[in-house]
Amino acid sequence: MVEAPNKAPATPKKEAPIEPGLQVAPGPHLSSAGLTTQRLMVDVLIALVPVMSMALFLFRWFAVLQVGICVVSCLTVEAITSLWRGTRPSLQDTSAIVTGVILGLSLPWSAPWHVGVVASAVAIGFGKAVFGGLGQNIFNPAMVGRGFVMISFASSLGATAYVRSGATLEILTQATPLTAAKELSGNVPGLWALFVGNANGSLGETSVLACLVGGLYLCLRRSAVWQTPVSMITSAAVVAGIANLLMPESPLTVLQHLTSGALVFSAFFIATDPVTSPLTERGQVIFGAGLGALVVIIRLFSNYPEGVVFAVLLMNAVVPMINRVTIPKPLGGLPARA
């Protein structure tokens, strides 16, 4: 048998087919190993583990159910909207899961299932998809969903919804700390209980300790910036302190302000959402300061016991402006006009 002359020489032994030729591509030609958007998102989920554990401990299956409903709904809506928009479903970046978990953790244990579903649909649909998907949205999707149901289902999410007298879990029979303060019933739990999280409230917000542990992880991994939470908490403390000085009858002390409600939870997990927060260090400090101040102001002067949702949405709206006024000067000073 004569071998065809143009037959290729023996194929290389390696299994992987060797692509012929050399590539021509722009530099840089290395990229940081394993650093992907997905990793940033998975880091947020890991950081939420202490918070979720605490929610599970305090609220038992209510927590599982609520977070589960939100995650499943968010993933479904993400899949539907991306098909609708003609893009590949971008589920693998796990950002929809992050939105679902944060949304679920921001709801009360008692919210009926349809609240979670509607909140998720609004969060992903109107909070994210209408702007063009991941990275394009102006407002924090979870807060858009939370804000929508807060107004639409006022009775299911109002102060009374958190309390059920005769519940087997004792904390569920108490008013949330901020409601207690608002109604001047004087039944605000002690600082230690607030810090550890032995209090009623939305699923993820009760334990400052759990939020700090997760938040520290996020910041150390540089999956979130530390400037925003530090600035937010500091600013809240300052504004609360001023309020206490001007209004001595104010129901909450500074430390109570810091340990109750969703302040710390939102400082680490909501305010740090990279998409809807400023890009530069200076911008992050301004953003955090605005958030902290607004949270306390809304708590003190509005009908709502808590102000995180509105504070976040308001500050999200000014992020483009913050970015604009905080453009950093290049190293060594401004280039002179050419």
């Binding site: 840089p28 290395l30 990229s31 990275g135």
Partner: protein, 453 residues
């Protein structure tokens, strides 16, 4: 007179803000001694190897030349003349595309029988006596003339004509000469080997350059992963006033804008040069070339090129004649491995891919890095989530994502408002970007558009 010792820079200013730590991969070639390349059959001397005006050939086809003869020059002040790197007969002018994309004419020279080769060439280049203590300093204008006639350019990569850097400017007195031995680009070890094997010409060259610019102070900056080089230089500089400073290893420490603040303490203005803060920076290889040019009248005909990467069989540091092809140097390093994917002129951060292995080596070619498919992690680009990692990494304090995305959309005003022109394309942002956005490419495109507008 003090005895020079490598001194760590004070901890407060050991490094700069931003930057990255890519795997250095210098281990591949760092222990390979400088090896002389056998004379190739032919070299092609590009008539533009520097920033500035194109040279005109001073020889014509069929002329006989000896290594070191002038083959091209320009009357333009911003230019550097070029010389024959081997002896032989000039062939018909042909064009070559350099890695940066410029197509330039070249003077090909076919090798004759008589060549300076092997150990003799190495000794001629780096050996012999290099005075450091009893150095009779020539007049500044003579130093400058020597540098100019030798066609010296910055050998760190930018290839700016050296005589312009060293020219005295009465309005801008120079206080300090910084000799850059950082070699922060991953993979490359050419400067390291030079510092280790031939520290004396570097010291002599530094003294000459300092004298030309009137600098009172000379600082040699070396990253702390090259301590042996720092020790070799300290020994060579014994008895002189040269300070040898060890700085932290971080990319891009070898960039002037990062190195000058660390060593001297003042920032270089974003639109200015080290000159504006009384500093001149020269690369270690350039310093050695200055000594050779001024004291021995030898032009820039050879340079050390690191041929490295997992895509070559045997990484090497080669003393190569200017004008030899990239392909020939790769062959000397054992050739490409089957999984070689990209051949780079320079290192992986700022190097350009080569489309044609016949491209001639120029005075600015610090290395050839061959990356394999495994080295190149390629992911699909996703949306920017404004994580800010690029902002953290930018050593120039810019906001890369904004600039790049503005350029992609053609929002030129926005790109300029974010100081697109200040970018030096070091690549830190794109290295870090978790969304795999080709930030540097987009910024480069934006700069090109704005320059053309």
């Amino acid at each position: 007179m003090s005895i020079a010792q490598p001194v760590p820079v004070s901890p407060r200013r050991r490094s700069f803000a931003g930057g990255i730590h890519p795997p250095s991969s210098k281990r591949l070639a760092r222990d390979q001694p400088i090896e002389v390349v056998p004379t190739p059959k032919q070299v092609r001397i590009p008539l533009l190897q520097h920033v500035g005006a194109l040279c005109e050939a001073t020889v014509k086809s069929r002329d006989e030349v000896v290594a070191g003869d002038l083959v091209g020059r320009s009357d333009d002040p911003v230019s550097a003349c070029v010389h024959a790197s081997i002896s032989g007969r000039v062939a018909k002018e042909s064009a070559a595309t350099l890695p940066n994309g410029r197509r330039v004419p070249t003077v090909p020279i076919k090798a004759g029988d008589e060549q300076l080769e092997g150990q003799t060439l190495l000794d001629d280049t780096f050996g012999g006596e290099w005075p450091t203590l009893r150095l009779d300093l020539p007049r500044p204008d003579l130093i400058l003339q020597g540098v100019r006639e030798a066609g010296l350019v910055g050998m760190g990569g930018a290839a700016f004509p050296t005589h312009i850097k060293l020219a005295l400017n009465p309005d801008r007195p120079i206080d300090t000469l910084v000799v850059n031995g950082c070699e922060c680009e991953p993979y490359l070890t050419a400067d390291y080997r030079l510092m280790l094997e031939a520290p004396r010409p570097i010291v002599t060259g530094a003294l000459l350059a300092a004298s030309a610019v009137g600098a009172r102070r000379i600082i040699i900056g070396i990253e702390d992963d090259k301590r042996q080089a720092a020790e070799a230089l300290s020994k060579a500089a014994e008895g002189t006033d040269i300070e040898i400073r060890v700085v932290r290893t971080k990319y891009p420490q070898g960039s002037e804008r990062q190195l000058v603040p660390v060593l001297v303490g003042s920032n270089v203005p974003a639109n200015g040069l080290p000159l504006d803060v009384g500093v001149v920076v020269v690369n270690v290889a350039t310093a050695a070339a200055i000594a050779r040019a001024v004291l021995r009248g030898k032009p820039m005909t050879h340079r050390i090129v690191t041929v490295t990467g997992r895509g070559v069989v045997q990484p090497k540091n080669l003393l190569a004649p200017i004008g030899i092809s990239y392909g020939e140097l790769i062959e000397i390093a054992g050739g490409l491995t089957p999984d070689a994917a990209r051949v780079l002129a320079g290192g992986p951060m700022m190097g350009f891919t080569l489309g044609d292995l016949d491209t001639p080596v120029t005075k600015g070619t610090s290395g050839i890095t061959v990356l394999t498919r495994e080295d190149l992690q390629q992911f699909e680009e996703t949306s920017c989530v404004r994580c800010g990692l690029c902002v953290d990494a930018c050593p120039l304090n810019l906001v890369p994502t904004r600039i790049a995305l503005a350029a992609r959309k053609g929002a030129w005003n926005l790109a300029e408002r974010y100081y697109i022109k200040a970018c030096m394309e070091c690549g830190c942002c794109a290295y870090q970007c978790p969304a795999q956005i080709p930030l540097v490419q987009l910024i480069r495109m934006g700069k090109a558009h704005l320059a053309a507008a």
